[in-house]
Amino acid sequence: MTTTPQAVRRESRRGSRPATTPDPARALMPAGEPVRLLDPDGTPLPAHPDYPEPPVEALVELHRRMVIGRRFDVQATALTKQGRLAVYPSSRGQEACQVGAILALNDDDWVFPTYRESMALVSRGIDPVEVLTLLRGDWHCGYDPAARRTAPQCTPLATQCVHAAGLAYGEAYQGRDTVALAFIGDGATSEGDFHEGVNFAAVFKAPVVYFVQNNRYAISVPLSRQTAAPSLAYKGVGYGVPSEQVDGNDPVAVLAVLTRAVAHARAGHGPFLVEAHTYRMEPHTNADDATRYRDADEVEAWRDRDPVARLETYLRARGALDDAAVAAVAEEAEAYAADLRDRMHDKPTVDPLSLFDHVYAQPTPQLVEQRDQVRAELAAAAEEGDA
């Protein structure tokens, strides 16, 4: 943050200047603090003037998917230890964001996830084995993006922000009321493509929700190295895009804010930017060593803001969940994980010649030659193997 002496001085002076026309930027600014509907311990706060609480059935479903999502996440991490997955970027601690975003959308809205959104994708109902294809290594994207209305998980950071703008504009152009939600991390907001994507969406009034999960780290790099702004949500005004901050570990607030952001986009008012303040409980991926760059204390402090427990406490207090319901969800989550473990047990086989199938709609003559060569190599190797 850059509250320089000058800036402060200016601020005070400005107070005494005669009022001019009201600043049109004001309406685009986020509130100075993250929207929160539940206290960290799950106690509900007084009703928020802008963000009504979502219906309780939605919250129960949110809870259910968060529990399953977390169990999935833990299972995926376990699969890396067993060598069934090469690598896995966990989103543990970010369950409210991962699931809240999905619940805020319709099934035929589009999602633009990053590598971290595996939990979001399984919450969307995509087969977890298909979600993990990328990380198991049998192909890149394992699900059908067109059928699931979910772009391939995006690794080149922030590039998906532009795709979301184009997709959303294209859908609107063709008369469909699709909303696109683009996930992005705090670190990736520093990339030029974030800027270009949000700006395109704004200029073309494309129905996109940009959802920044500010989990405070980009691998090892802390937020303070990404921005000097008071918060990432303040980027919106520079694009003419309304924006909001939300407590990303408050599932109720996340769902409420995103629901409104989606409605804003769907109503034709253009993009909306939401920054969720959250925390990545695990290392960047299983291959990362987070002890090199952050204290156990810091991680511990965030344990107290666990989004799953927070929502469970609240729903229990409201009488919307009881022991039996919680147990049932836990059981469902176990079964989900067991099924995943089973189905990930065997190494899949992939036909090496399929390498040539999807470079172009039809392989070029050059690829046909290379395919013949590889076919011959494989035959020779098989013969050797036989001999």
Binding site: A146, A168, Y169, E196, A361
Partner: protein, 338 residues
Amino acid sequence: MATMTMAKALNAALADAMLDDERVVVFGEDVGQLGGVFRITDGLQARFGDKRCFDTPLAEAGIVGFAVGLAMSGLRPVVEMQFDAFAYPAFEQIASHVAKLRNRTRGALSVPIVIRVPYAGGIGGVEHHCDSSEAYYAHTPGLKVVTPATVEDAYSLLREAIADPDPVVFMEPKKLYFASAEADLPARTQPFGRAVVRRPGTDATLVAYGPAVPVALEAAEAAREEGWDLEVVDVRTIVPFDDATVTASVRKTGRCVVIQEAQGFAGVGAEIAARVQERCFHALHAPVLRVSGLDIPYPAPMLEHTHLPGVDRVLDAVARLQWDDQPDARWLTEAGAA
């Protein structure tokens, strides 16, 4: 038959494609009301409305990434990069998404985008306005890369690029924009993957593409005075490459010079030279030689003629094709010694 410029033929191709297919949308910097700095999109906005042809914010990664999204929604975007070097900001979008999306998704998503790139020099342009960038794209699997050298090819290749199910980087030689020729539109010339013999000859083959094709033809004309009858092959589509036509020509003539305007090192000409000697080694009476731009940043206007491969440089190379040296005795000796 009418006389028209390549610029006009490209404009007609865009208009006809927009007319035939509602999904075609044209966008980029200044392509709307202005009609593009080279006027390739002239009149399209007036004719098809500002939803079909429109200006975007000034951001090339944005333009290409937006096209990716539009293509995912079922449209067929044709985007303009204002000049060659100004496509570089879009390089990540092109290399990591446009080129790979089909492959990444096992064919579930395709991105039939045409990225038009006015390229190369010879127009007295200031720095960053004259780069030959085709090799960057040709080296990137998943992209098709085509470049017309004639007015009819400009029309035909652009129509085909727009209809193609794969992303196409469409390289337009700036210096040929306002050269005119007889053309019968809607011309449909050879499809992608076919090179064309622009001039038959028997003594040596000149392989060229885009802005180098007229140079090759001129050189072949001049070579007649030296007593050489040169064949000129226009590559037309760099990816996919037409080995058959090039190989047939070189097997026939026994000699080959590859001409490109781009800086030579690791360019498309290197690929062609490497392919030709791989495939025609025993037919060759001399090494495959290359004539290209110098390995320097594109120079200021007053020096561009020194940089650009011209007729003299081509003829020098042809002269070095060891005309009086067949079979080469040294070759035999060394072969025997090996």
